[in-house]
Symmetry: D2
Subunit: 316 residues, 4 copies
């Protein structure tokens, strides 16, 4: 029943390209992933589809508060589209820089290119330093850098990553120009079917489809977790792509499905709600510890033993 | 579905005596118990102790809203004292009569004897019909009938059961004289260790010791049952005999511990609260059906299969 | 903070007699009540009825875990019968003694008289010291003392209070003979209509009639209190005297109806449940402090001011 | 205290431009707003800032699932930035068309321009019909139409609204090409301070900052609404722009703050949580009726009268 050990399960990884984006930068923070064969793809749906049909072994895409492309694509793709399991999450700080041809100065810039989200996240910097510059949308931050390099016009600059500066031979005219310096982006590695093993410090993501849009439905869902002391780290009601009025809930919770309390809670939600889609149990980014969970599990094991004894005493 | 043949597990049954009380009357409504060897004992603690140490095979005592003796003795005995399991519950209506020597009339009665609770439950009748009679406490309703028969004085009457009239050769001077004609008493059959098999229409009794007397502690307990759609039929916070401020909860719920949802809920409460004492799963008196439980169980089985599949996909 | 001067509102107080019971002893712990005209009445229903129709100004009766008479009479009388408001609660420890004629010794006792509850609470003492004595029920512990004095037989003893020994000239043959030395009894002073002023350390008692016997109904009730951080000190589901299956909840909670959060919670329960009967807000016995409530109230006042400002901004 | 009647409160309305976007199209569905002086502004933050400092009387911006620009700007601007009140919501279906110069055919198109979100929403159409076309990002859908008209190249098309086709003299090459034909966008009208009057069919939006990231915190918030039968139509946990781990909740609920139950719930949440920011009570788009609310309100009024009577009976 147990899958065999796999020394290198993800030999070929597709990611949201092009090279030089935050997604590639996040991928490079993971030594084992960085050493795989990396394939830059054009869009998040393409990464998800290629992973689902086996053209690549795993996909790497932004999922929350990202700069490149819309993360709704990832979230809705996993929730409503493909059958993929999140294997890992990676969180990196958002660091945006103003890039230009060597020799360019900030003062000389009259046009700034970037993905609309990146332009939006540097609005404060632009208003203070380049109030008269025209802003030009591009498909990604890396595309902006590429265009600046191609156009070879010192009055044009890009907002992009440090990696893009390297790739396209651009200078950093100004660094860390984003309005919210402690902003971060969360990425996920997805692959078919298999679930990552528990590490003692895991996260589980599910989509819960509610039985009906009645008061107390969500409350009932949350109680399932609260009574078992399972902490939620994210909750979002979301239209199910059938118009604005039909909701499901995207939920991230602390723990792994191989934890008794998590499995119990999900079994119970599955039984009581219309449906639950499991998106994965995987190591949580960051370093908070599993101490309390161990205590809870000890109490659960005592309780299981107690109930087993009682059940063994039921007369035939 | 039918309970399996039982080679008479309870050959010797102790009950709260003496003969002629409501307890004996309730015992006689159960054909299999009535055919056992019946032993009248002096007090509820004596019945419980004799059952616990094996002098008798089972004990039969009132537990809720009873006439004879204090039912706190049963409840607290099971909750805090002996280790016994409720095997069955029996509910009978409370019917109290005025009993006297043959030839006595109500108008001639100047003294009425009974257990103080029975006197209290007929207060309305006594005020209307015998406002000047003196009231005399006895240890049980049956004792009152015995005393009336012994004293042989036509101005003395007893409030007791029809069975006591038979036993002591007394007449029914007035029947059904209790103030609340739809009152009822609940009795339980208790025995060591074994749990009654599920019938599809069961009740489970537990005592839950809360972790601390904080707001929300009871709420947490109730949520365990509510999220699993387990209905409570009785709930009572109760001092744990260590003064007035230290509480536990006496809970009766619908279902048997061999129902998944009941076992799950109790496991979870056991793990999260200070302790749970199991008092028994047993056929519920009355006739409401198990239909909805079947639907719930089907949904649970689907959910269990879903989770089993997921757990089988966790990598080593 | 100090309760305002009260020109003796309760000049004539009825209590559950006879003299010499725990009820009288509890009454004597309250200086202002002890100086009123005290009237011993025969039963709890009589005390409640006399208070309701104005024959006495207030009634004093046991309500929880009492020795004399059944406390169900008090609880059900207040919940389902008369319209009276609890003005005060008094808690005293249960101390039972063995009383006999001067010169009697424990070893010489062959018959013990008392209220059945008192006999039950001293079962351990009786089994160890007087295993062969016959036990005789009386209407109250004080009645037992009176009978011992009347019969004047040195082989007969009573289980009763120290006050009864004084009243009837009996000796204390053995003191503090109850099995649970930290047992206590709670009494209440009841009067029509008016509610006791808040002292900062109060309790409120209500009866909540649930809308239907559905899972979650009680949960909904408790949430009303939990969301407002109102602590419950007692909760009991209870048949509404219309048979065993129709329940209401007896609830004691911390706080006074003049506390915003308590009033809000009760308004909301009243609106959402079938009915609520208010039994009183009154100073709590014991000494836990009102500190946290003050913080909560400050937060509520800020919230009220915030909402008032918002409501003032609604356009016509 | 009541604000004076205002016959035309919003004479000058700023909206997210340029002309020809969905935002303008939504604005035109509201006769009273369409007749105001309309000012197209460059970005959502600019609309919000201009409304807050009085340069315009009201602002009109997309808030949920929109095409033009990121709606995070609206949501986070209202939640964490400016002090503005939502006055109205407008929901219109998303209808995207392929626009080209007169005479252009779909088959001849080699480049498609639009806002990245619009390109994403038509991915299916593009893959089926124009798999080889290059995709070019623009700042808005209207900008794409403008660029197509400026460039005057029949191989270039825009994905934009019908209104943009009119504005820029373009043909509809293909209509309703979005992948999810029942998709819709929600817009809001915002203005300072004043709150829209209740209509009996309203919605209220708030941001709730939780006291701590503990299990049960959100549960407590939801209970406040559930116990008062206030239905939530949207709930989203959201980082408070101080990194990924610090959350607040964006909540839309049914009802107006001038409804007792809504005001009560918000008062209570405000008192118990770290903070609540009120974003507005306003007429709900769509046509579901207020019947049940009327019943609830009647029950509340009875409960209020009951509590007023009790409070009037508290002694001084």
């Amino acid at each position: 029943m147990a899958p065999p050990p796999d020394p290198n399960p993800h030999r070929r990884i597709g990611y949201l390209g092009p090279a030089g984006t935050f997604t590639e930068q996040a991928l490079f923070t993971q030594a084992d992933l960085a050493s795989a064969e990396l394939v830059a793809l054009d869009s998040i749906p393409e990464v998800l589809a290629a992973t689902a049909d086996g053209r690549i072994d795993a996909g790497f895409v932004p999922i929350e508060n990202a700069i490149e492309g819309t993360v709704t694509d990832t979230q809705d793709g996993l929730a409503f589209g493909v059958e993929l399991i999140i294997q890992r999450e990676v969180v990196i700080p958002v660091q945006l820089h103003l890039l230009g041809l060597p020799g360019t100065t900030v003062a000389g810039v009259t046009q700034v290119m970037s993905h609309p989200h990146a332009l939006g996240q540097c609005r404060g910097f632009l208003e203070r330093n380049l109030p008269d510059a025209t802003l030009e949308a591009t498909n990604s931050t890396a595309d902006a850098a590429r265009l600046v390099a191609d156009v070879a016009d010192p009055t044009t600059a890009a907002i992009a990553t440090g990696r893009a500066a390297e790739l396209y031979g651009l200078d950093l005219l100004a660094t860390d120009i984003e309005d919210h310096p402690d902003n971060a982006t969360r990425f996920v590695l997805v692959a078919p079917r298999l679930v990552a093993p528990p590490t003692g410090h895991d996260k589980t993501s599910v989509v819960i489809y509610q039985r009906a849009d009645t008061p107390g439905s969500l409350l009932g869902i949350l109680q399932e977790f609260a009574v078992r002391a399972v902490n939620l780290t994210r909750l979002e009601s979301r239209p199910t792509r059938r118009g604005l009025g039909d909701y499901c809930f995207l939920v991230d919770l602390e723990g792994h499905i191989s934890d008794d309390v998590v499995a119990d809670a999900l079994r119970s939600v599955k039984a009581n709600q219309q449906d639950v889609k499991f998106l994965g149990s995987y190591p949580a980014a960051g370093e908070t510890g599993p101490t309390r969970r161990a205590e809870v599990d000890a109490a659960r094991q005592d309780a299981n033993a107690w109930m087993d004894d009682l059940l063994g005493r039921v007369r035939d």
